[in-house]
C-alpha cells in the first residue's frame, strides 16, 4: 500500500495523547492481515468477554458509551439497536453501510483498507447483541481494492473460526457477506441501501415502516456505518467510561475526520470530539492562505463562514448551534482565492447527478438549480437568479421521501446566504443581466 496523506499523524498533541480507538492499525505494516491484527489486540473481545454478557447488557453498554452514528446523521447507536423488536420470529439483519459517498469523505475507505478485522470484530459484537445470524457489508462499487481486502479478511476470519458456526467455540454463529453496490450516492441512505441490497433500484423507501421494524427482506434490520461499528470493540474492552474518557459529555469518544481543501496536510485524522476547528487545522499542518469559510461535515452540511469556523468545535452540539452539522466528518476549509460560485456549482452538479429521480421536487429541483448555476458561472446570469435558486432550494428542502433533498438544499441556501456578493459579481459580468428570460409562457403551443 502506498502511504496515504495525513500519515503518520502525531501520537500526541499539545502534551495529550491522541486516541487510537479506530486508527490503531492504520500505520502498522500488514495491519490488514489476521496475524498482525491479532498481535495488536483485534478479536481480543471474542471470547468470554463478549459471550458472558447478555444481549441487553451489551445494548445498555453502547447506550451508556454515548456512541453516535458516524455516517452523517449522528443518531445514538445504542438507541437504534434498542428499536429492534424481539421475538418476531423473523431474522434480524445487520447491514454495514460502507457506501461512503459524501463528497470529501474518505475515512471508511481507509478503515476497510487498513483494518478490516476491527470491522469484523465490531460486527461480531453487534451481531451477538442483536441476535443476528446474517450480516452484510454494503460497499460502494468503486471501492474495488477495499472489497478485495474485506473478502480476504473475511476468509481469514472464517478459517480461524471467528466467523461461521459457533464463533470462538461459543453458541453464536454469524455469516458475513460483502455486497458490492453500483456506485450511487443515494444507496448510502439506509432504505435506499436496503432496496439496492435486495436487488431493487436504489431508491429510498417511504417511512414508516422503519428499517428496525421492517427493513431488508421485510425483517428487522440495523444499518450502521463502518466507523460506528469499529468503535464497538473498544467500548466492550474499556467500558463506557473508557470511551467517554475522550470527547465531550454529549459527544463522547473520538472520530475520524477526512480533511481536504486548503490545508497543508490533508488526510484522515482521529481526534477526540470537542477539539476546535482552528486547533484541528493546526494539527493538520495549518491552513493555506486566509480562511474564507469551511464545509464542516461533508458537502451536505451548511457552509460555515470564517468567523463561524473560528467559533466551532468538532462535536455535534457546537455545529447544531451554528445551524450546520458534523455529518460524516469531511472537513473542507477554503481560502480567499476560492471561486465560491464555481465551488457551489460543483456541489450542485453532484446532487443533480445523484438525485435518485423518485420525488418530483428533488428530481427536477436539483437539476434546475444546477443549470441556473451553470448559466451564472458562464456569465449569463440574470438579476433574480440568486433569489430564484434560493427559493427553489427552499421548495425542495423538506418535501421529499429522504434526507437527500435537504442535503442538496443546505449548501445552496448557506452559500447564497453567506457569499451572496460572490454570486452577484458573476451576474454583474453579464451585460444583459437586467433583461428578462424567455419564459415558458412565450413558447408557441403553450397558450394557456
Amino acid at each position: 500500500m502506498t502511504t496515504l496523506h495525513g500519515f503518520p499523524q502525531p501520537t500526541h498533541w499539545k502534551g495529550k495523547e491522541l486516541p487510537r480507538i479506530l486508527s490503531g492499525l492504520f500505520q502498522v505494516e500488514n495491519g490488514h492481515t489476521l496475524a498482525v491484527a491479532k498481535q495488536h489486540g483485534v478479536y481480543g473481545t471474542i471470547g468470554p468477554m463478549l459471550f458472558d454478557k447478555s444481549q441487553l447488557e451489551l445494548i445498555e453498554l453502547v447506550k451508556d458509551s454515548g456512541l453516535r452514528g458516524r455516517g452523517g446523521a449522528g443518531f445514538p447507536t445504542g438507541m437504534k439497536w434498542s428499536f429492534v423488536p424481539r421475538g418476531t420470529g423473523k431474522p434480524v439483519y445487520l447491514v454495514i453501510n460502507a457506501d461512503e459517498g459524501e463528497p470529501g469523505t474518505f475515512k471508511d475507505r481507509l478503515c476497510m483498507t487498513r483494518d478490516p478485522h476491527l470491522l469484523i470484530e465490531g460486527m461480531i459484537i453487534t451481531g451477538y447483541a442483536l441476535g443476528v445470524r446474517t450480516a452484510y457489508i454494503y460497499v460502494r462499487g468503486e471501492m474495488l481494492p477495499q472489497i478485495t481486502r474485506l473478502n480476504d479478511a473475511i476468509k481469514e476470519a472464517y478459517d480461524a473460526g471467528l466467523l461461521g458456526e459457533n464463533i470462538g467455540g461459543s453458541q453464536y454463529s454469524l455469516d458475513i457477506y460483502v455486497h458490492r453496490g453500483a456506485g450511487a450516492y443515494i444507496c448510502g441512505e439506509e432504505t435506499g441501501l436496503i432496496n439496492s441490497l435486495e436487488g431493487f433500484k436504489g431508491q429510498p423507501r417511504l417511512k414508516p415502516p422503519f428499517p428496525a421494524v421492517s427493513g431488508a427482506f421485510a425483517s428487522p434490520t440495523v444499518v450502521n456505518n463502518v466507523e460506528t461499528i469499529m468503535a464497538v470493540p473498544y467500548i466492550l474492552k474499556h467500558g463506557a467510561k473508557g470511551y467517554r474518557a475522550f470527547g465531550t459529555d454529549k459527544s463522547p469518544g473520538s472520530k475520524l475526520f477526512s480533511i481536504s481543501g486548503d490545508i497543508v496536510k490533508p488526510g484522515v485524522y482521529e481526534v477526540p470530539l470537542g477539539m476546535s476547528y482552528m486547533e484541528f487545522f493546526e494539527l493538520c499542518g495549518g491552513l493555506k492562505g486566509e480562511l474564507l469559510g469551511c464545509i464542516p461535515g461533508g458537502s451536505s452540511a451548511p457552509v460555515l463562514s470564517a468567523d463561524e469556523t473560528r467559533k466551532a468545535t468538532l462535536d455535534y452540539e457546537s455545529l447544531a448551534s451554528l445551524k450546520s452539522m458534523l455529518g460524516s466528518g469531511a472537513i473542507t476549509p477554503f481560502n480567499t482565492t476560492t471561486d465560491v460560485p464555481k465551488f457551489l456549482q460543483t456541489i450542485a452538479r453532484f446532487y443533480a447527478h445523484e438525485s435518485c429521480g423518485q420525488c418530483t421536487p428533488c428530481r427536477e429541483g436539483t437539476g434546475y438549480v444546477d443549470r441556473v448555476l451553470d448559466k451564472v458561472v458562464d456569465g449569463q446570469g440574470r438579476d433574480g437568479d440568486i433569489d430564484l435558486i434560493k427559493d427553489l432550494a427552499d421548495s425542495y428542502e423538506w418535501t421529499t421521501i429522504c434526507a437527500f433533498a435537504p442535503g442538496a438544499a443546505w449548501p445552496v441556501q448557506s452559500f447564497i446566504a453567506k457569499y451572496r456578493e460572490h454570486f452577484q459579481r458573476y451576474i454583474d459580468k453579464n451585460p444583459d443581466h437586467a433583461a428578462a428570460r424567455d419564459l415558458v409562457t412565450q413558447r408557441p403551443g403553450a397558450f394557456w
Binding site: 447527478h353 429541483g365 434546475y368 421548495s395 424567455d438
Partner: protein, 552 residues
C-alpha cells in the same frame, strides 16, 4: 358510526374511517380537495409526486407529510392548503417542478380535458412561469423532442411505440410510476420501468421488449398526463366532446364496470369512441381488459340492421310478420334463451313461451368454452349473464334440444350464436324446418336461419345482467344505434307474442324486469334505482357459483 374516529382537519373535527389513507379521508369526509399524481386508489402507495403534502402535528411540532402515505389515527391534527400558507407555497413549488420539463402541449394532447396535471395547473391559476425552459432538460427542440441523458445519450421522443397498443410521449411524462406499479403489481408482468436517475430519468420498456399485456391499455387511463396514450383513441376525439353512459362488460361473466363514451352529433351521425373502466371496488377495481375495451369497435361493424326471410333481406317489420306467422302455425316450438342477453330479454323468452302455451319449450345454455379467471377483470366465462339466466330458472340443456330436435318444427334462437359456438352440434338442429334468429350481428346463426330479425346490441339497451358472483348490474342505453328501427330483444319477443292468444303488452324494459322478478325470487325487491351504478348483490343462499376474485 362505531367504525369512525375523530381527526382534526384545519381546526374542524371530522369523523373518518380509521387506518385509511389520509388523502381518502380528506377527499371524502373532510371534503377538502387534495391533488395527487402518483397516488391511485387501486395501486400501492409510492409517495413520489409530493403534491398531496399536508402538515400534521407530532411530538416535535408540526411536520410535513404526504397525505397518501399518512394513515388516519385518533386525534390526528392536519393542516391543509385551507389553513396553512406553507402548504400552499410548497404545493406551488412542487407544481412548478412538475412543469419545468413538461411541454404544456395541451392543444395537441389527447389527455387534455381529463389530465390531472392540467386540472391542478389550471386550479392553481399558475399561468405564468418564472422558470426558463432554456435551462430545462436540454430538449433539443427538434421534431422528435429528444433530450440528452447524463451520459450524453439521446433519450426520449414525442412518439415512442411501446407495443401493439400504447404510444409514449416521453417529454410529457412526470415519472409518477403509476404505470410501472400497475404493470408489476396488478398485471404481474413488470414490462415497464423508470431508467436513469434525477431529471434524466425516463420511462421505458426493457431493451427490445415491447409492452404487450392484455391489460396494458389501463396504463393510459391511469397516466395523470398524456404520456401514455392508447393507439385506438389517439387523435380521435377531444374528450370534452364525449358523453358517457354507464354499462358493464357484456363479454365476460365478471361484468367489469365501464362507461361507453360516445357522441351523437358530428359528420358521422354519432359514434361510440371508446370504453373506459368505471371504478367498482367490488368488481373490477379500476381495470378492464384490452379485449373488453375494444368491444366498441364491433358496434358499427357487421350489424344485422334489417331482417331476413327465405334467404333474402327484408325489413324488420316483414321479418317479424313472417316469424309471427311461423309461430302461429307451429306444432312444437323450441325457444333458446341466451346468457349474452339481459335478464329482461330472457324474462321475455319465458313470457313468450308461456303465452304460446304447451307447444313451446325453453332451452338454455352455451357451447362456448369457459376459461380461467385472471384475478383482474375477467372471470374467463364468456357468457356474461349465465347467472341471470340460471336465476330465472332456465336450465343449461342445449344438448337435450339437440337430442330431440326432430320433435320441433320451429326453432327460435334469441341472441345465442349456436352455430359459431359449435357448428357441429348446431348442425343437428338444422332438421328443424323453420329457424328464427334474433341477433345484433350477421353471425353464423343468422346465416343458418330461415327468418332473422335484427336487435339492438348490448351498448344500446337498458337492462340488467347478473355476474358470476351474483351481483345484479345495469347496462344503460347509449343512443348511438346503427338503425333506429332496431329494438331490444325483449321488445321483439313481445311483438312475436302476437302469435299467441294473449299477446304480451309490455311497454318498457321496466315491465320486462317486473316479469323477471316474478320468475326469479332472487330479484325480489330490486329496482333499477336500488341496483344503481354499482350493482346489487342477490341473496347468497340463491347463488351457488364460486366467487371470482376481482383486482388485487
Amino acid at each position: 358510526m362505531a367504525d369512525t374516529i375523530t381527526i382534526n382537519v384545519d381546526g374542524k373535527d371530522v369523523q373518518v374511517p380509521p387506518r385509511t389513507q389520509l388523502i381518502e379521508a380528506l377527499r371524502g369526509p373532510a371534503n377538502t380537495e387534495t391533488p395527487a399524481f402518483c397516488y391511485h386508489q387501486d395501486l400501492k402507495v409510492a409517495g413520489n409526486c409530493r403534491i398531496c403534502l399536508v402538515e400534521t402535528e407530532g411530538p416535535r411540532g408540526w411536520a410535513l407529510g404526504i397525505s397518501c402515505h399518512l394513515q388516519t389515527a385518533p386525534g390526528l391534527k392536519v393542516r391543509t392548503q385551507v389553513s396553512s400558507d406553507k402548504i400552499v407555497k410548497l404545493r406551488k413549488g412542487v407544481m412548478e417542478f412538475l412543469l419545468v420539463n413538461h411541454p404544456l402541449d395541451c392543444p395537441i394532447c389527447d389527455k387534455a380535458g381529463e389530465c390531472t396535471l392540467q386540472e391542478h395547473y389550471m386550479g392553481q391559476g399558475k399561468h405564468e412561469s418564472r422558470l426558463d425552459d432554456a435551462v430545462g432538460k436540454q430538449y433539443k427542440g427538434g421534431a422528435d423532442h429528444r433530450f440528452l441523458d447524463s451520459k450524453g445519450i439521446e433519450r426520449g421522443g414525442k412518439k415512442i411505440d411501446l407495443g401493439p397498443s400504447i404510444v409514449l410521449d416521453q417529454e410529457r411524462c412526470i415519472i409518477c410510476t403509476r404505470c410501472v406499479r400497475f404493470m408489476s403489481d396488478v398485471a404481474k408482468s413488470p414490462q415497464l420501468d423508470i431508467a436513469g436517475r434525477g431529471d434524466h430519468a425516463y420511462l421505458t420498456t426493457f431493451p427490445d421488449e415491447p409492452l404487450n399485456h392484455e391489460y396494458d391499455l389501463n396504463t393510459a387511463d391511469i397516466c395523470p398526463v398524456g404520456a401514455l396514450t392508447g393507439k385506438h383513441f389517439r387523435f380521435q376525439q377531444r374528450v370534452w366532446m364525449l358523453k358517457s353512459v354507464e354499462s358493464i362488460d357484456p363479454s365476460d361473466s365478471l361484468g367489469a364496470n365501464l362507461t361507453i363514451d360516445y357522441n351523437n352529433s358530428g359528420s358521422e351521425g354519432g359514434k361510440v369512441w371508446r370504453l373506459m373502466p368505471r371504478r367498482n371496488p367490488d368488481v373490477n377495481k379500476s381495470w378492464i381488459a384490452n379485449r373488453t375495451r375494444l368491444l366498441y369497435q364491433n358496434l358499427a361493424v357487421n350489424r344485422l340492421t334489417d331482417g331476413k326471410k327465405a334467404g333474402g333481406d327484408c325489413t324488420i317489420e316483414d321479418a317479424t310478420i313472417a316469424a309471427v306467422a311461423a309461430l302461429k302455425g307451429a306444432k312444437r316450438v323450441a325457444i333458446v334463451a341466451s346468457g349474452h342477453l339481459t335478464t329482461e330479454d330472457n324474462a321475455a323468452v319465458l313470457a313468450l313461451a308461456e303465452a304460446l302455451g304447451g307447444k313451446a319449450e325453453v332451452f338454455g345454455g352455451s357451447w362456448l368454452t369457459v376459461g380461467k379467471a385472471d384475478g383482474i377483470a375477467l372471470s374467463g366465462d364468456p357468457v356474461a349473464n349465465r347467472k341471470g339466466v340460471e336465476l330465472l330458472g332456465i336450465k343449461d340443456n342445449l344438448d337435450e334440444l339437440v337430442a330431440k330436435a326432430k320433435d320441433f318444427d320451429v326453432l327460435l334462437v334469441a341472441g345465442n350464436d349456436l352455430w359459431s359456438a359449435s357448428a357441429e352440434k348446431a348442425a343437428k338442429l338444422e332438421v328443424i324446418p323453420t329457424r328464427i334468429a334474433l341477433s345484433a350481428w350477421v353471425d353464423a346463426t343468422v346465416a343458418k336461419a330461415t327468418i332473422a330479425i335484427g336487435i339492438r346490441a348490448w351498448a344500446e339497451v337498458r337492462g340488467s345482467m347478473v355476474n358470476c358472483n351474483g351481483r345484479v348490474q345495469l347496462l344503460q342505453a347509449c343512443p348511438v344505434v346503427p338503425n333506429s328501427q332496431l329494438e331490444a330483444a325483449w321488445s321483439v319477443l313481445t311483438a312475436l307474442s302476437k302469435a299467441a292468444a294473449k299477446p304480451l303488452t309490455w311497454a318498457s324494459e321496466v315491465d320486462a324486469w317486473k316479469s323477471a322478478q316474478a320468475r326469479g325470487s332472487a330479484f325480489a325487491g330490486m329496482t333499477y334505482r336500488s341496483i344503481g351504478p354499482m350493482g346489487q348483490q342477490v341473496a347468497l343462499s340463491t347463488t351457488t357459483v364460486q366467487p371470482v376474485a376481482a383486482g388485487v
